[in-house]
């Protein structure tokens, strides 16, 4: 079973963080939650492997 990558793997972390913040900047809390939910779903689909997604959920819940 492949493992969730928890070592640094993101090419340009500052740019990714900035893009996330820009997307949320003008949003009310409810719209922010919508945006995050859409992002989670898009990324989960991109990952494809439910095991990886479940490992990420478990880690996030910790």
């Amino acid at each position: 079973m492949p493992d969730l990558i928890t070592t640094a793997n993101l090419a340009d972390p500052d740019a990714v963080f900035e893009a996330l913040m820009n997307a949320h900047r003008d949003l009310a809390p409810e719209a922010s939650r919508q945006l995050d939910a859409k992002l989670v779903l898009l990324l989960a689909n991109h990952i494809g492997d439910p095991d990886i997604v479940k490992q990420a959920i478990a880690l996030a819940v910790e």
């Binding site: 409810e30 939650r33 919508q34 939910a37 859409k38 989670v40 779903l41 898009l42 689909n45």
Partner: protein, 518 residues
């Protein structure tokens, strides 16, 4: 007008019968028919003298139709029902997507037909009558006294109460099972905090025979709605009302008419489409089951054993598979062909099947009734993405329609002794395919059948009938079989074993394993 079946005063108080079935709903009737066709004398007790009130179970899956075909009523149901393959899912005013359930060609039965439960029961009653089932109407079981070797039943009739003895009791008395309650058996699971208005509506509408499901439509803001066509121009409409709705007030005809009228206009149907209300009910759905379905000489089946919410049409279809699983086993035990321990495999096979149905319908119900803000947000995100992005559509859950259980972990299976292509492992229901002038499943024997592929001479052990099939046809393709392969099929048309090389002893060993003789 619903049929009323003749009540006859009991003439045999105190008599002992090999098999008594409590409950003449769709599942009890199916079990009675299967056992009677296997030559067993069956007494069936039902508390009223008619069929289901309201349509209730309408979607009957291909596997149920194949079971009913084995019982001689498949074509009658197909002729009466409405065949459908297309489902559409809407959010607000927009269609998100459509799906097509049409299996590949080369099957006798379609993916689903819609037919009111009362029509199904009427056809079952007639078949039971012809098969010699002792049908006793207006016979309510009020007390159940189980012993190691049978059960004493107390039965209330218009002529007072009497008792009968049953060697074997099949409890098919529905979700409120009196048998289950008399035995004090816990029936645990969850209740979904929501209410649904279910209506049967008669109308002449040139509207396609499809399953239409709306999330939050303009004519019913905030709720979901499901529309299905049934036989005789009757349509079934389910409105999600929410937990705070008052079930009695919602059933008022004027209130229901207003809801239906708001829906049945443009753009769905022409303005002023006329309709009549046939039946209205308000339900709260549950998912729960008994811990075990076999309790000595008492066996629970259908809603008495397990209950699911209706999204996915898994209640009735699951119950039919219970009857299919139990009848041949009980028949084999009563004929002395198998030990009583064969009946423990009813639990081993049908409990995982019930859990699969409970899981699927719980997930659908949780999608349809979000429980908290996060669930609302995720659902809104899925519905918003699904309109334009194909990836989000499989996440939309408006009901995962009933699939036949494959008993892949069953102790009755003989494990493969060599690699096979994926698809139809031991435990799976046998696939249909064209066969000569007819269909493969029609050629299966009432006990064990060996499918023999290619020009292979085959000697069969006693109790097994060979069915020779070409090694290059559609059947061979569906079973992943090549010339020389043999596949053993059980009396309920599930696969027991398969081999690339076998002799009569190997086949006999697998048959004996299936009867718990080894």
């Amino acid at each position: 007008m619903p049929p009323h079946y003749p009540y006859r005063p009991p003439t045999d108080p105190g008599t002992r019968h090999p098999i008594i079935i409590v409950g003449g709903g769709m599942v009890g009737l199916t079990a009675a028919l299967d056992l009677a066709r296997r030559g067993q004398p069956v007494v069936l007790l039902d508390e009223d003298d008619t069929v289901s009130i309201g349509s209730r179970a309408i979607c009957h899956a291909k596997r149920s139709l194949e079971i009913f075909s084995r019982l001689g009523i498949g074509q009658a149901l197909l002729a009466k029902g409405v065949t459908w393959n297309t489902g559409r899912v809407f959010a607000g005013e927009k269609q998100l997507f459509a799906f097509d359930l049409l299996a590949e060609p080369g099957h006798e039965f379609p993916a689903f037909i819609n037919l009111q439960q009362y029509h199904l029961e009427e056809i079952l009653v007639e078949a039971c009558r012809k098969a010699g089932v002792d049908l006793r109407w207006k016979s309510r079981v009020t007390a159940v006294d189980p012993r190691a070797d049978g059960t004493t039943l107390t039965i209330e009739t218009p002529d007072g109460t009497y008792q009968l003895q049953a060697d074997w009791l099949l409890a098919a008395d529905g979700a409120r099972s009196a048998t289950r309650e008399a035995m004090n058996l816990p029936f645990v699971g969850k209740v979904f905090r929501d209410r649904f208005l279910i209506a049967d509506v008669t109308m002449r509408a040139a509207f396609p025979a499809e399953r239409w499901f709306w999330f939050n439509p303009p004519f019913h803001p905030g709720g979901s709605v499901l529309l299905h066509r049934q036989a005789d121009n009757v349509w079934r409409i389910d409105f999600q009302l929410g937990w705070d709705a008052d079930p009695e007030a919602e059933k008022a005809p004027e209130k229901v008419r207003a809801r239906v009228a708001a829906m049945l206009g443009p753009p769905i149907l022409p303005a002023n489409t006329e309709f009549e209300l046939d039946w209205v009910s308000v339900y709260t759905f549950r998912c729960r089951r008994l811990e075990k379905f076999r309790h000595g000489r008492i066996l629970f089946l259908g809603d008495a054993a397990h209950q699911v919410s209706p999204f996915g049409a898994r209640g009735g279809n699951g119950g039919i598979q219970d009857a299919d699983n139990l009848a041949w086993k009980l028949n084999a035990v009563l004929r002395g062909q198998a030990p009583e321990s064969l009946l423990d495999t009813y639990d081993a096979e049908r409990i995982p099947a019930a859990d699969e149905n409970i899981l699927a319908s719980t997930r659908s119900t949780d999608f349809i009734t979000p429980k908290n803000d996060a669930a609302h947000a995720y659902r809104a995100a899925i519905l918003a993405l699904a309109e334009h992005h194909e990836f989000a559509r499989p996440l939309v859950n408006s009901g995962r329609l009933s699939r036949p259980a494959a008993y892949t972990a069953s102790p009755l299976n003989t494990p493969d002794d060599a690699p096979w292509p994926p698809g139809l492992p031991p435990g799976a229901p046998a696939a249909d395919a064209p066969c000569g002038e007819g269909w493969l499943l029609h050629h299966l024997a009432p006990d064990f059948t060996a499918l023999v592929f290619g020009p292979t001479p085959a000697t069969m052990p006693p109790g097994v009938t060979a069915l020779h099939l070409p090694a290059n046809g559609l059947a061979a393709h569906r079973y992943g079989a090549q010339a020389g392969d043999v596949i053993l099929i059980r009396p309920d048309q599930h696969i027991a074993a398969r081999w690339h090389h076998c002799d009569p002893e190997t086949i006999d060993a697998a048959r004996r394993r299936c009867l718990c003789l080894t």
